[in-house]
């Protein structure tokens, strides 16, 4: 189960000072940036493509492929996505706080590969401490001439601006992030025509990559594409961070390779269920993902394909574990409430539908449910994500709205009787 660590290696080996310039350079830091400066753009893109590095922001799209789609107009921009706000996810926070230079080196590599001369690190506003660590690291890099005009004594210029969010999960969606960076409301843009690679920040070609994706790059250059690609089991590549939370004995971030099973993850990596209670359900890939239950999913392998085939996704790698004491109506309400609160409000189905769902669930939880309410909730969900299909047939601009139906689907598929108990008993049986 154990794999060679990639992004968390330095912080594991040197917990006390992994975030400092001294430790970073002492452990090979910035050597790969220097190396990249001697490589051609195409070579870097090719290398990243063949490493099989998949985006870690949720969509798991090949990073190298994304770069190769960048439109030719210039200036091009890089936006590093550190908005991490999906319930269950806290991995980027650790990377930002504990190894900011690693990300900066990744930014340099990405910028060279994509002819970017101004990169932005968009960090959610609530991450004050991680943002401080990053800003400090950026300042140090500027001081050493690793950022700014003519980095490392070459004629390559690179500015890095650390941008703080304002409290809006939707800004994690790449086009919403671009709007936000432009000083606008963080509303997702239409794709087409506003694909970031063509018409992104300031309508120019823009790469958006997750913090972890970018942080992977220095080690990929160091170990080579092939070695990185073969870290994982069979079809998958590299490592990836998973955030474990909820009713597990050992919550936390774990850098893993795909291919272990959910049972291994929850009971071995996570140390099992708190107080050895029974596992009831888990959310496999952040709050957006359709839920899994032990009867059907415990022995599935954790791979992109297997998870998709089972009707869910690995998303941002956040696993939220719920034990037998958890009220599923309440848990569903809490997840739906999140999406309703975070809806940007542009799309009618998301703006109206998510709040409607939240109201229905709250009524049921508070003992005011009607017999028709679960079907009503399913009907409302149907209007946001037609037929509750997987992958979703969205009636919305972005996937936020359709994400809100995942808990409803869980109630429909696995916990109908628990809903009925609420309605018949006019209250929550877990209270």
């Amino acid at each position: 189960m154990s794999v060679p660590l990639v992004v968390t290696k330095r912080m594991t080996d040197h917990p006390a000072d992994s975030h400092t310039m001294e430790r970073f350079e002492a452990t090979g830091g910035y050597a790969q940036a220097r190396k990249a400066l001697d490589m051609t753009r195409d070579d870097i893109v090719e290398l990243v493509k063949s490493s099989g590095l998949l985006g870690r922001g949720g969509a798991a799209f090949s990073a190298g492929l994304k770069w190769s789609f960048l439109a030719p107009a210039r200036p091009a921009y890089l936006v590093v996505n550190g908005d991490e706000s999906e319930p269950g996810t806290f991995k980027d926070r650790q990377l930002l706080e504990r190894d900011p230079h690693q990300m900066i080196e990744g930014i340099i590599i990405t910028s060279i590969a994509n002819e970017v001369h101004h990169a932005f690190v968009y960090i959610r506003g609530e991450y004050a401490k991680p943002a401080r660590r990053v800003q400090q690291a950026v300042d140090e890099a500027y001081a050493k001439g690793y950022l700014g005009k003519g980095i490392f004594g070459t004629d390559f210029d690179l500015e890095v601006t650390v941008h703080l969010g304002g409290g809006a999960y939707i800004c994690g969606e790449e086009t919403a992030m671009i709007n936000s960076l432009e000083g606008r409301r963080g509303e997702p843009r239409l794709k087409p025509p506003y694909f970031p690679a063509a018409k992104g920040l300031y309508m120019m070609p823009t790469i958006v990559n997750n913090v972890e994706t970018v942080s992977d790059l220095p080690r990929i250059l160091e170990m080579g594409a092939d070695e990185f690609a073969h870290l994982a089991h069979e079809n998958d590549t590299g490592t990836f961070m998973m955030s474990l939370s909820g009713h597990v004995k050992k919550p936390g971030n774990y850098e893993l390779a795909h291919g272990i099973t959910w049972r291994e993850l929850i009971f071995e990596v996570g140390g099992g269920i708190t107080d050895d209670r029974e596992l009831k359900a888990w959310i496999p890939g952040g709050a957006s993902a359709p839920w899994f239950v032990p009867e059907h999913h415990l022995d599935l392998e954790i791979t992109k394909e297997a998870t998709a085939a089972a009707g869910s996704m690995l998303g941002s790698g956040a696993v939220i574990v719920m034990d037998e004491t958890t009220c599923m109506v309440r848990a569903a309400e809490r997840v739906v409430r999140f999406f309703s609160h975070e809806s940007c409000g542009q799309c009618t189905p998301c703006r109206e539908g998510t709040t409607w769902l939240e109201m229905i669930l709250r009524r049921i939880e508070e003992g005011q449910g009607r017999a028709v309410d679960l079907d009503l909730a399913i009907g409302v969900s149907d209007g946001i994500s037609i037929d509750l299909a997987w992958p979703p047939k969205m009636t919305t601009i972005c996937p936020l709205g359709p994400s809100a139906v995942s808990p409803i689907k869980a109630l429909k598929d696995y916990f109908r009787s628990e809903v009925d108990a609420h309605i018949e008993g006019e209250g929550c049986p877990f209270d």
């Binding site: 917990p15 006390a16 000072d17 992994s18 200036p75 991490e84 319930p87 269950g88 996810t89 806290f90 926070r93 650790q94 504990r98 101004h118 959610r124 506003g125 609530e126 004050a128 401490k129 943002a131 401080r132 800003q135 400090q136 300042d139 500015e159 601006t161 941008h163 703080l164 969010g165 304002g166 409290g167 809006a168 999960y169 936000s180 960076l181 432009e182 000083g183 409301r185 963080g186 300031y202 955030s243 474990l244 939370s245 909820g246 009713h247 919550p251 936390g252 971030n253 709050a287 956040a318 939220i320 719920m322 958890t326 848990a331 997840v335 409430r337 999140f338 609160h341 975070e342 940007c344």
Partner: protein
């Protein structure tokens, strides 16, 4: 003619210079406006608009989209308790109630003195250290209802000029999402993020 202090104006210029287009500076400038007035006032939004050539309505459209720009006066300490799914599973609602009860301030409000504001928030990225809360965006993980009460008492009694995440974590925290490794030497001074470019941090312990 800016109402802002000279120092804030220097910061505003510096911030604007970090972006290719000045409209991009709206968000950091909104934080500056909050730091100037203690919250985001109508005058603050108008001022931000003047810096970046937007109408006050355009500025408000942006500001009101985000939850961290408080358009009502907020206490010196903004206590934000996570009640999203992972924290809820481990007692987030109970911690919130403890905060409300001990402080006498319900969610979304501020005490009469202007010392404490309490709010529940969606996920703050500390799910492995549930229940998590923040004071002026400085994090405490693994909080219990009992510790939450002690936090309120401490804020009321000690009234620190600035709050430091490690100090509070030691006093009131428990399980963490990950090893924090070393102490953070910074402290936040108001109900907005403590961040260098905004000038809203101090050295911890410095009064």
């Amino acid at each position: 003619m800016s109402r802002w202090s000279d120092e804030t104006q220097i910061r505003a210029k510096e911030i604007i210079s970090r972006y290719p287009e000045k409209r991009s500076a709206v968000m950091p400038l909104l934080y500056l406006a909050m730091a100037e007035d203690g919250y985001l006032s109508d005058e603050g939004m108008t001022e931000v608009g003047e810096w970046v050539d937007l109408t006050p309505a355009q500025v408000q459209a942006v500001a009101s989209f985000y939850t961290m720009y408080k358009r009502q006066p907020t206490g010196k300490y903004l206590v934000s308790c996570c009640t999203s799914i992972s924290c809820m599973l481990l007692g987030g609602d109970e911690v919130l109630h403890a905060l409300e009860d001990e402080s006498g301030v319900p969610h979304g409000e501020t005490d009469e003195e202007g010392l404490l504001s309490v709010e529940h928030v969606e996920c703050i990225g500390a799910c492995g250290g549930a229940v998590a809360l923040q004071v002026n965006y400085e994090l405490i993980e693994g909080v219990t209802p009992e510790k939450a009460r002690q936090l309120v008492q401490w804020l009321k009694a000690a009234r620190p000029e600035a709050v430091n995440t490690d100090e509070m974590q030691e006093l009131f925290g428990g399980v963490r999402s990950f090893d924090w490794a070393i102490r953070d030497e910074h402290a936040a001074v108001g109900p907005y993020p403590g961040f260098q470019p905004l000038g809203t941090i101090r050295q911890a312990g410095e009064e």
